[in-house]
Structures are given as C-alpha cells and as structure tokens.
C-alpha cells in the first residue's frame, strides 16, 4: 500500500474489519464444508443401504439362476425414477443378474468385480438424461452367494438434505454482517474514547505559544501507550521554556545595563557646547534612550503575565498621558489634544500598560504627522479610545504588518525601531481588547482601541 493510513482510529477499524471478515468467512466456509461432508456421507450411507436392499431381494429362480424379485413398493419406486436411480447386479461369475437400464448394464459389464469395501464413483453426463451421477459399487453376500452391486443416483437428487443445509447456512450467515457491524462500532467507539485524552492534549498544545510557555500537556487519563510521547513533549517544553527564560532575561538585562551608560552619555552631551552636529548627536542618543526603553518594555511584556484586573478611569489615564507628552510634542513643533468624553470612563485593565500603549501610539502619530498639526486622542464611552493624526495614513497592504516587531514601512524615514506598535499590540492582546486601523477623514491615520468596560 503506497499511502499509509495515518489515522490510528481508521487503521484499527479497517484492520479489525478485515479480521472480522476473514474470521466470518472461515467460520461460515468451515460450516458449509463440514455440513456438505455430512450431507455427502448421508448420501453414501443411503446408497449403501439401497445396495444391501437390492442384494437381499436376489434369489434363485426355477432354473437355478440368480434373479431379482423386488417387492411391489420398491419396484414401483425404482420404476418411477428409472433414470434418476439406477442399479446393476452381477453374480460371482460376472454375469449380469439385473440392470435398471441398458446403459448401466453395459457400463457394469466393463468393470471389474466389486470389492467388499464400498468404492464410490462419479459418472458425468451419463445415460439418456446426460446428468451427473454419484454411486457406490460393493460386493455383498446374499442368498445366492457373493454379488457385485452397483447403485447410482443423480447428483443433487438428494434435494432435501441440501435444502436443509442451505437453509441452515443462510440462517447462520445472516447473523454475520450485523455482528461484524456491531463489533466494529464497539471497536471504533472504544478507540475513539481512549484517544479522547490525546485530543485534549493536542487542544492544549495548540494554545502553547511565546506568551504561554508555562503550559504543559495534561498527562492524566492519557493511554499508557501514548504516555511516553506526552511526557517527552512536556520535558521538551520544559527545556524550551528554560531557553526562553534565559533569552528574555538576557534581553531585559542587556537593556537594563545599557540604561546607565546612556544616562551618562546624555548627561555628558548636555555639558558640551557645540555646533549642529552635537544636537544631531543628542537627538540620536535620545532615540537610543527610547529604543532601550521599548526593548525593556517588550522584555517585560514577554516575561511577566500582565495583571489586567484592576478597574481604572480611561479618561483620567488619557489626560495624564496626553499631558505628559505635551512637551515632547511641542518641542517637535506638533501638539496633542484630548477630546471626547469629559467624565470618568471605567474599564478593567492594567493602567501602566494601557498608558504605555497610548504613549507609543501618540509617539507613532507624532512621527508621521506634519509640523504644526495636532494628534488627537479621543475617549469614547464604554472603553473606546482612539489616536488620530493628519499624516499620510497607513496603506491597506501595510496594515497587517505594522504590529510586527521591528517592522517599518517603506519610504518612512528611520525614526523608531519599529517596536512601538508591537508593544501596543502585546498590551491590547493581554487585555483581550481590540485594535483597528483606519483612515481618518479627510486625511491621516486612526487607531481605535476598545477595552472591556468595568
């Protein structure tokens, strides 16, 4: 078989079906064979009895010659089926005593004398009927000495025995398909049921990801045969988790260690006096500061499960973030504003993380909008918050990539590292919140976030 069946359940079922089929065939075949053997021996026995009967009715006539004298009922029976039931009798000298038909008489004349052991024979397409006969030839003692008696019967003439047999076989065979079907159902069901824990394990496996590396496959109820695999997978996951943790710790430590030298560089640069190159350098360092901060943020989001269960006021939070970004915006010749609801909007989440997300969205908007324009944060009722700019907007084909780490749009001046929106996405995901990107009318991009209302 070139294509192997991969489904354990299907394979077991198919193989069991084949087994049941072969076993049933063997059982039924064996039954038919032994039944027909029985039928055959019954027929042989009957032929033998008939031969004895015939021998019994041979006597000497007035000329002291052997002669067959059948009683009327037997005589009637033999003449009624003269062609179906044939016989021939010879004396010890080989002289024909009696033959039911000339053909059988002629045939017998050519045969040697019979033995005391019955010898069975078959005749094909014999006599005027041109039918198959089965018969016996035997030497029997009689009142006139040993006789050679031959009796033959049209094959299949024993209808009664065969019809009983046929009925019996069909009665039995009738039970076989339903039995096979029920057995298969039971097998399929039991296979299915014993594979259920494996299904549960694969469902669990499908939710294991970078954000949930602590999850393991359930080992309870797993069939003994599959348990080593599940245990081995869990051990593999343990090792992967260790590697992951080390990797994350490294990122966090590296970013953390970078912070102090960066502060020192920033401070030293401030003390220097110089030309435009120096201020370009300062900008570069500021960018690097931001990048390190974002790396730390990513590392933190990766390593610690965010507690998103605290109630918070989205409006107050937006006010704080917009206020804290105002100076940054102004120094970049842009401005920020807060519109929408002017009252508390309660949601459930993690205030610091949502503030981080908002900060990154505003930064992103400031980077993509022209000088002199305003980035608008709008808080809506029921946990909605949006950040809108007046920049070129985000092309539809870029929208599924902008949240990937380190992704930057083509032709966009190298401003950030491409981590800001990835951070936003992580935070949105951790909150079970939603984020959509759309065009702002008449111009610009618009990010809409929706958190769960408290």
């Amino acid at each position: 078989m070139s294509r192997r069946i991969k489904s354990l359940q299907l394979r077991l079922t198919v193989e069991l079906a084949a087994l049941f089929f072969v076993a049933s065939c063997l059982a039924v075949g064996g039954l038919i064979y032994s039944a027909s053997l029985t039928a055959g021996s019954l027929a042989d026995r009957e032929l033998g009895l008939r031969a004895e009967d015939l021998a019994r009715y041979v006597s000497l006539d007035e000329n002291r010659k052997p002669r067959l004298e059948l009683p009327p009922p037997l005589n009637q029976a033999y003449s009624a089926a003269a062609q179906q039931s044939v016989f021939a009798i010879r004396d010890k000298d080989g002289q024909l005593v009696e033959a039911s038909t000339p053909e059988i008489g002629a045939l017998t004349a050519r045969w040697p004398q019979a033995d005391s052991e019955p010898s069975y024979f078959r005749l094909s397409k014999f006599g005027p009927l041109e039918r198959d006969y089965s018969g016996v030839s035997i030497r029997l003692d009689s009142a006139v000495g040993p006789l050679s008696v031959l009796v033959a019967e049209v094959s299949g003439g024993n209808q009664l025995v065969h019809s009983i047999l046929r009925e019996f076989v069909f009665d039995i065979a009738w039970y076989v398909p339903p039995f096979v079907a029920v057995a298969l159902l039971v097998a399929a069901f039991s296979v299915r049921r014993s594979l259920l824990p494996l299904r549960a394990a694969s469902a669990q496996a499908s939710v294991i990801g970078p954000g949930s590396i602590g999850l393991r496959l359930p080992e309870a109820d797993v069939p003994t045969e599959a348990l080593p695999l599940v245990v081995a997978v869990n051990h593999a996951l343990d090792r992967l988790e260790q590697g992951f943790v080390i990797q994350r710790r490294f990122t966090a430590n590296a970013a953390h260690e970078l912070r102090t030298p960066l502060t020192v560089i920033t401070a030293r640069l401030e003390t220097l006096e110089g030309n435009g190159q120096l201020s370009a350098l300062r900008e570069e360092v500021a960018r690097m500061n931001r990048l390190v901060e974002q790396l730390l943020c990513v590392a933190r989001l990766d390593s610690v499960a965010l507690d998103v269960s605290s109630p918070l006021d989205l409006h107050e939070l937006a006010e704080e973030v917009v206020g804290s970004m105002a100076h940054l915006a102004l120094s970049a010749c842009r401005t920020v504003a807060l519109t929408g609801a002017d009252h508390p909007v309660l949601v459930t989440g993690n205030a610091a993380a949502i503030a981080d997300a908002l900060r990154n969205l505003i930064e992103n908007a400031l980077a993509h909008t022209a000088p002199g324009t305003e980035v608008v944060v709008e808080v809506g009722p029921e946990g909605a918050i949006s950040v809108q700019d007046s920049g070129p907007g985000i092309p539809a084909e870029d929208r599924r990539h902008i949240f990937e780490r380190f992704w930057r749009g083509k032709g966009v001046r190298a401003h950030g590292a491409g981590l800001g929106l990835a951070i936003v996405m992580e935070i949105v995901r951790a909150h079970g919140a939603s984020i959509t990107v759309s065009d702002r009318v008449p111009r610009g991009a618009r990010f809409d976030l929706r958190f769960r209302a408290a």
Binding site: T263, E270, A329, A337, P371
Partner: protein, 225 residues
C-alpha cells in the same frame, strides 16, 4: 546648600556632582543604602536624590527610614520606567517627586530647584523660567529684566505654570488655585485669563509662551510651535 546623591553608578554620580556643583550646590555621594542612611542621619541635607536600585538594599527602605526619624527634606527618586510599582510605592513612602531613567540633567536640576522652592523649601522664593523672573513673596514679575504688571489672578496662573515649567498644568489645578484667591463671584473663566496672559507675555517679549493642550490643560514652554 547641601545635597545628598544616593547612586551606586560612579560615572553618573560624578556627573551629577559636577553639574550640581556648577550651580552652587555642595554634593555628597552615597553609593549604598547603608552609607545613605548613615549620612542622612548625621547631616541635615537640604534635599536628596535617591536611586531606588541600590546594590545592598532597597532604596525605598532608605526613604522610609529617613521619614521615620522625622527628616522632612525633599527627596527626589530615580526609577526605571519599567518599574511602575516602584514609582507608586516611592511616592507613597514619602518621596516628593520622581524621574525615570534615563533622564536629562537639566530636567533633574529643574525638579530639584522646584522642590527647594516649595513653601518651606530652602531656596529663595524666586522662580525663573526663560527670561521670566517671579518673586513669589513680593509678587514682582520681570520679563527680560523689565518689570511687568499683571493682575493677581494672572500672576497666580503664571506662578503655577512657572513652578511646573515645561510640564503640563491641568485645568483643574489652575481652577483650584484661582478659587482660593478669587473674591469676585463672576470672575472670568480660565481661558480668558490665559488669553490675557498670553497677550501680555507676547507684548513684553517673553521667550516663553503658554500652549493650550486641548482637553488637558496648559503648558509653559519655549516658543516653537
């Protein structure tokens, strides 16, 4: 004036010492929580800058211990942005202000000065921002050295803005401050005062301007946008 800088990173504390020294502060440096606690107990500093991440212990413990022995000096804490909990805990434990690392030295100096100018603070009662100079006791304002006349309410607004120079002043804070000094029941709303203030600053050639951040408040910053 004597400051204590509690920071384990030598290069950083060195820069802080020289920069703060340049503007007339005497700076002591403590590199560990133990040194810091001892120094704070012995010497009456005018202010302290405390890094929360210290090698031999939690900076927060230093803060709590200092407050427990009844020292009320202004303390500014330095924290990492990723440790939001530290920041909140620091303020709850009695810190007066915080800065997240990495920070600009100019920002740190401005914050320290603001802390020292608080009522009860040791620094003189004069606020400076750009070419504005405000004597908070005599209520005298000079713009580029030239005395300027402002109404009491406008002066109160400007004082708040100068105290938080470069940082947002929420509308609510201004409203609160104005209610305290307003005798007239039908006084103008804040936007009107801001409008007047802006015109006068502009006319007097101030190097700063008041920006409106819609929906949040006002910010005094260099003229740019």
């Amino acid at each position: 004036m004597r400051l204590l800088v509690i920071e384990d990173e030598d290069r950083l504390s060195g820069i802080l010492k020289s920069k703060l020294g340049d503007i007339g502060f005497t700076v002591d440096i403590a590199g560990s929580a133990g040194d810091a606690s001892a120094a704070l107990e012995l010497i009456n500093y005018d202010a302290a800058i405390l890094d929360l991440g210290l090698p031999d212990g939690d900076g927060l413990a230093v803060l709590t211990a200092t407050r427990q022995i009844g020292k009320g000096l202004p303390i500014l804490i330095l924290t990492a942005r990723d440790a939001v909990e530290d920041r909140v805990a620091g303020l709850n434990a009695g810190a007066d202000d915080y800065l997240t690392k990495p920070f600009a030295i100019a920002e740190l100096i401005a914050r320290i000065k603001a802390l020292l100018r608080r009522p009860g603070g040791v620094l003189g009662m004069t606020l400076e921002a750009g070419n504005l100079r405000l004597d908070t006791v005599g209520r005298d304002l000079t713009i580029g050295g030239v005395p300027a006349r402002l109404s009491r309410r406008e002066l109160a607004i400007l004082e708040q803005m100068m105290r938080r120079f470069g940082r947002i002043v929420p509308k609510a804070v201004l409203e609160e401050k104005l209610y305290g000094i307003d005798e007239e029941p039908d006084s103008n709303p804040i936007p009107v005062h801001i409008h007047h203030l802006r015109r006068q600053l502009d006319a007097a050639g101030a190097s700063l301007m008041i920006h409106t951040i819609r929906g949040v408040g006002y910010i005094l910053a260099e003229m740019k946008a």
